[in-house]
């Protein structure tokens, strides 16, 4: 998967104290980077499921498009390059049923919602509305996937 994480460099190596830092030390990754990576990954997962579950395609596609929009907005406020589409995951050894695919998406959305809640509580004030909206959207995806 090529997503946001590939575009940034992680900061100082372990073991260096504050006084040891070089002036040109690479910047720390943006704390919202994991949220953006989740959005890219979830968009790909929902798009893949939409192709395989036609009766749920409208809902799954709408959710995929919401994750795309989240990734774009997070990219904008982090001032990082636009996200690359993620691969839809490794091939499974057995084909899951539609119910199993939906349940797997619900588990992923729930984890992503909880991450977004924690990010919203820690983020600076000017970012809180966007991150809060993303958390709320992920909660609505759980509802929509019932």
């Amino acid at each position: 998967m090529l997503a946001f994480g590939a575009a940034l460099t992680v900061g100082a190596a372990g073991g260096c104290g504050l006084l040891d830092r070089e002036p040109d030390e690479p910047p720390q990754p943006d704390p919202l980077l994991p949220l953006a990576d989740d959005a890219v990954r979830l968009a790909a997962a929902h798009r893949s499921a939409a192709a395989e579950i036609p009766e749920r395609a409208a809902t799954l596609t709408a959710i995929a498009e919401a994750h795309d929009a989240h990734a774009r907005e997070l990219s904008r406020i982090m001032a990082t390059p636009a996200p690359s589409p993620a691969a839809s995951g490794s091939a499974a050894t057995t084909t899951p049923t539609a119910e199993e695919r939906i349940e797997s998406l619900r588990v992923a959305e729930k984890a992503a919602y909880e991450s977004a809640v924690q990010a919203c509580l820690r983020t600076p004030s000017h970012r809180a509305p966007l991150v809060g909206s993303i958390a709320a959207a992920r909660a609505t995806h759980l509802e929509a996937l019932k």
Binding site: A58, T59, A66, L121, P129, A136, A139, T140
Partner: protein, 139 residues
Amino acid sequence: MTGELTAALSAEYAAIFAYGPIGVQLTGAEQAAARAAEAAHRALRDVLVLSLSGTGLPPAAAAYRLPEPVVDRAAALRVAISVEEKTAAVWRAALSATADAQRRQALDALTGCAVRATRWRRFAKTEPITVAFPGKAPA
């Protein structure tokens, strides 16, 4: 911070008012959802009243303007969606003015409104049933 929470209190009063006529037009699971939604908004109002005590609380109005007359089931569902979207917008605005426990309260309120709006869109068979940025005005 008080201004955003005061706005949230006014929005909660309006939501509680709206669910009266909404519930009258609904039956079965939809009416139960309206009752649950009204209870959720009453709980949010009570928390806000406690938070804002001593700051000059806005009083509840005798009546609030609804987006349209609630004359039948279809109108009730449209108004319910509208109420939740408007209340979500007020709570979203409160996020930037809050921190710690109050931000968590605002986030939970925004999330509750967004999830209820999704349920109402499902009842109304409105597609899509989700929006990308709950609480944000459409571009």
